[in-house]
Symmetry: C2
């Protein structure tokens, strides 16, 4: 669907990807944006640049507060549902937090949308739905079985399933994007963010979770948003679903090397916590098949390594 | 794992499949059974025959009541988690009921199990996780994508995903069975049950939901339980998952014919509500590939038609 002149609600719009999305949307003609965010991970400073824009409105609110959400959703044309506990490691120790902020939050949103006759939803899912060691590499969208090993992945899959049932039963249309790892401005977590923070604390040594050989595709947040918008505007099924990734992958060791280079450091001692995974629930090897988006006409221009280098530069300007 | 001398908690144990499972378990040597059921769909009369058995205990309790559940779960070796809103049609109009009694109930159970160091779970899932018009027929366990169209299916898939994450992170072992349609003694819903009730009310006419051409595999509840126990005792992965079904399928028109025959009726006028689906969320054509169970050494002996005829006879004795 075309986004021109639409009124869009972005859940999690004060977060990393959300704030980049809002910037992109406000630059387009006639789009009105409402950000609904509880600021648990999102930051007021990320949306500060938009507060004077008459097409922008910020609501501090929680998706678990259905009454407040209901008030804000009236008159909205399309919801971009990005809100989630994006700190996957934290979630591994707190399955109830992932359940609340993942599945239950999504279920609330869908019900409130239905009650207010808002039926277009864009959902940011994750490659974690494919679970550990998928038998098809790179992994395409139609891969099965789907047995996620993280609570983050489990609740994203649960949300996808709920969205699917709302499409069938209540005439919703949905665009589901299963993201690679995303890097760039306003990141609040993730390996690049962690490495920079650790090296600012102690430029002599870097502790690397796992054996450093974990490798995943990294997509720059600008390309992530560009791809997502392209998909929303070009894909017209009732339920659309795409991997959103570049080809290939970058190993954690390579990320460490890029961060060290960009920070101009030398002789950094690398220490490894060991094991194939960074933490329980971490999928050490991820390769996503981006062909479905390519058939639609979009592909990432930056390689995974290039996306990381650009993301590192941007975060170094910020942190 | 072997079930001999184990202490087993059955959620939903007063329901259709649950009560048949309890009967089977109590006939085996040294097994102790605790039924935990809120009697929302289950019936006291289904477990009445076991109340004098010293190996049996009934607890009226809700899975949303974590405190009560926690008290009962201490000392349990393995949980058979059957509780669900098995009335799929009702659930289509009440997504919140499916969420509570499906995903949230399962999440509560898993947390309480973890807190009490109970880590073996058997879960009854459904062919509805495969969604509408799967591209592979008969559908095997590794099929993807998984986009259920019913809230029942969506919440079963969500529960599977949570169980998978508990296996990976908290050392759980799980056996997931994706059921065909089950028929037989103590059924509380479903097409066979509906047809018998309608024809008892009015033996001249039968209203058939949809066009009558919907066709699914039907498994007799005794074979369902036999297969499930076989799978639990023989499959030893950390996360085991199986279709539990016969080959082939039976069309709704054929079910009507069998019920009419077994009731000794003649000249019943069939009226159709029309359309390919019985109701929104109904998957009209289901064929499940039972080969994974067959490789393990088990297969259904009754055909789908035979299972229905036996189920009809049993229900006619009961209703």
């Amino acid at each position: 669907m075309k986004l021109e002149n639409k009124k869009i609600l972005v859940t999690g719009g004060a977060g990393f990807i959300g704030s980049n999305l809002v910037e992109f949307l406000l630059a387009r003609r006639g789009i009105k944006v409402v950000v609904y965010d509880n600021l648990s991970l999102g930051k007021k400073e990320f949306i500060a640049p938009f507060l004077k824009n008459s097409n922008f409105r910020f609501i501090k609110g929680d998706l678990l507060d259905k009454k407040k959400l209901g008030k804000e959703i009236r008159g909205i044309d399309i919801v971009f549902h990005l809100a989630a506990n994006s700190d996957i490691r934290y979630g591994m120790k707190h399955p109830e937090v992932e359940l609340k902020n993942g599945t239950i939050a999504t279920a609330n949103l869908l019900e409130v949308m239905r009650e207010n006759n808002v039926r277009e939803i864009v959902f940011t899912s994750t490659s974690a739905v494919y679970g550990d060691k998928p038998k098809v590499i790179p992994t395409p969208e139609d891969y099965g079985p789907l047995f996620p090993i993280s609570f983050y992945g489990a609740n994203k899959l649960a949300s996808e399933a709920l969205i699917s049932a709302y499409c069938h039963n209540f005439g919703f249309r949905a665009w589901i994007f299963r993201f690679a790892n995303i890097v760039g401005k306003n990141a609040t977590h993730g390996v690049v963010f962690d490495f920079i923070r650790k090296l600012k604390d102690n430029p002599k040594e870097l502790v690397i979770l796992g054996n450093g050989k974990q490798a995943k595709p990294y997509l720059h947040v600008k390309e992530c948003i560009e791809g997502m918008i392209y998909g929303v505007e070009k894909a017209n099924d009732q339920l659309n679903y795409f991997n959103l990734a570049c080809k290939g992958a970058t190993a954690v060791n390579k990320i460490a090397q890029i961060v060290i280079q960009e920070m101009g450091l030398e002789d950094v001692k690398l220490r490894y916590t060991g094991g194939e995974r960074g933490w329980p629930g971490d999928v050490p090897q991820v390769r996503l098949d981006p062909r479905k988006m390519k058939r639609l006409g979009w592909e990432a221009r930056l390689s995974s390594d290039q996306a990381i280098r650009l993301g590192v530069k941007e975060l170094l300007n910020q942190l």
